[in-house]
Symmetry: C2
Subunit: 455 residues, 2 copies
Amino acid sequence: MNIANIIDRLREIMADESVERLQEALDSYHEADLADVFAQMKPEERLQCFKLLNLEKAADLIEYLSPQLQVELLGELDEEVASKIITKLPHDAAADVLGDMDEDESETYLDKLPHKFSQEVRELLTYNEDTAGGIMNPLVLTVGFDMTVQDVLNTIRNKAEKDSMELYYVYVVDKQNHLLGVVSLRKLLTSPTTQQVSEIMIRDIVKLHVDDYSDYIVDEFLKYQYNALPVVDLYNRLKGMVTWDDVHDLFEEETTEEIYQSSGISTEIVDEDQILSGNVFKAIIARLPWLFITLIGEFLAVNVANHFNATLTALPIIAIFMPLLAGLGGNIGTQSITLMVRGLSTGQVTLNSAVFHIFREMGIGLIIGSVFGILVTLTTWGWQHNIELGIIVGIAMIINMTMATVIGTFTPFALKSMNVDPAIASGPIIATTIDVIGLAIYFGLVSAFLINKLA
Amino acid sequence: MNIANIIDRLREIMADESVERLQEALDSYHEADLADVFAQMKPEERLQCFKLLNLEKAADLIEYLSPQLQVELLGELDEEVASKIITKLPHDAAADVLGDMDEDESETYLDKLPHKFSQEVRELLTYNEDTAGGIMNPLVLTVGFDMTVQDVLNTIRNKAEKDSMELYYVYVVDKQNHLLGVVSLRKLLTSPTTQQVSEIMIRDIVKLHVDDYSDYIVDEFLKYQYNALPVVDLYNRLKGMVTWDDVHDLFEEETTEEIYQSSGISTEIVDEDQILSGNVFKAIIARLPWLFITLIGEFLAVNVANHFNATLTALPIIAIFMPLLAGLGGNIGTQSITLMVRGLSTGQVTLNSAVFHIFREMGIGLIIGSVFGILVTLTTWGWQHNIELGIIVGIAMIINMTMATVIGTFTPFALKSMNVDPAIASGPIIATTIDVIGLAIYFGLVSAFLINKLA
């Protein structure tokens, strides 16, 4: 599916002002494709198209759209129509949409929704949106544990269709709705119809608590690889379920936060969505803290350099190699951090293997540093006709790159062992640390060997 | 579940040499937890535990283990036992395990497996492991399109249990196995039992082709959010299905590659697994290319600095501010790149919004640059008692940080519009470019204003 082609086609039909053909064209695309199309259309274009969809398709499409577009499109519709579309959404999706609106606006809609639906959605809205309670769909199929397989199949036939439930597992509960067991549809379909569900249900249930946070939920899904997990309250009463497609969104958000953090963009103070396209000042606040720490760190570097002022004055040529040393030390150090932080995050690297990785990275730094050191020595010699300077710069390069890999490897492990998220340390801070130490080594070498030689 | 606690408990039982208690303890944990436990145990410990599991549990556990551990554990077992465990795996998992072994070893096992199973696994092994053919499970439930719902339910009862099939959808095919439609279990369970499947099946099927690559597969799953997608060959014959848990692994791999690339670690030449803990020279090869380009880039920076040798000699103090400017320009530029590359990857940023983002980032660079510029001017003034130098360094800071955000934003868009993966450009290259331009601006400013003033 080429989204640009679909947009071109829809635009042509809109230019012809043929409502029927436009409606037909819109109907022929999957909602997931239309969502991509809408994201790239102009606001007036997508509104024109959205109004032509039937309620079912409009609701399906809403689920695939970004929160901004959801609110934008529903806000432009007649309130009655918008309420009807919201009613067609699964409860969790409806709560998401209403939660992203201003309170006045969402209240207007909640009042217009069918009583039971609005009550259930209101309950969802009381949970923190980053917890299982805020993410779950409260509409799950529950059955009594004295039912037979045939009873359950009948229940599914009656209830699941009417309430447009998502069906992954059937949850077995007692009269007070306490979760007793889980039966997969597969097990249900392959068991004798006269068997009791209590005999085929799984009793050791992997479950979530309404207050579990999204990072924990993601970890549980990735670990156990179920399609859906039940959500219970403090008393083990079943409140809803979280499905893998909800988790996928969480997972993508978490990955984005991990990537942002690695370049010193703070997702803790400012919401991730705001950073990319919201208020400029919020974006600045997200970016400022680590830049400010870099500023302080680099002032340290300036101080180190200033400490060797006499050396610099005696031999100004040494200054020109500063960016070379800082640049390569910073880059190879960043590679080490990236590998360790990501490895710790996926579980490929554990604290147990810290020593192994520190020595391995040190070896890599030493080998690459030596190759580059020799290259730099030869180049400097050939260019400046000064073999001593070349050797000093080369040695500084070897020490600098080796030191950078060790610091880049050691720091994430040290933070992890102190229970600090290693991602927070990445990039900015370590690059600055490497800058400071690298400069000190370089100027130290120059002062110790080169100045004496020349003097 | 605290993995460290489980390990401690198991170690205590092992010290007691009570086989029965160890077996009981192992049985009480979920395979996903045991996989985490095994990853952190010593090789001899995990072998001891693994041997105590029954075949079913051993096979379930194997699926959760990393390829290295799979091969390690099976290799230590008696070949007969190992073959039995492999036979209990889903076809795709069996092919993965055998594909990770040496050819001799996998051949030994393939010969020992039941004929039909080994034949199907052999076919899977002919596909590239990064394509739908290499990832899919060939065992899918197919039904004829003239069957009724009741026929299908009977088929499920007979076939699905026996072949331990994964059940998400039922695929409707003709006699030559051409894919005609898809029926979800939910639809099946809520439709009248006398209805024909051809009437309830979805005909507009989202499907994969055996040769589709993993990045395309991930995109399709994320977009359409189905639990499973069917895989067909060139003639639309159904060959298997890919399920969301397969895709999760692909997704994690892709994210890792994206993150590695951003710090200049090439995943195209060397397999991702090798970089972190494989052969040191492979790891060096993955890291060398972008470091080498950095080396060349930084030599350019050295050249720029050298060009201003006279300025440096006249006023060596200016050298000490080089790391400050380079560090902050590099960091804020990296933030911009990170935001754009990630945004382009998730779809939150599109080429259409390039101009908006370039101006937005420029504004952010200008504001943060101005704040930092003033701070640097004041600090330098107070410290070096030289207001002119302070002003020049401050102005260089403003220009440098603004330039860095513009380059960091523009480059990913430029690459994307040329159909080059923007992730490739991140970090190393842009940091170097910013270094070179930043130095030129700084020395240019110093030469133009400061040297004249002082002279």
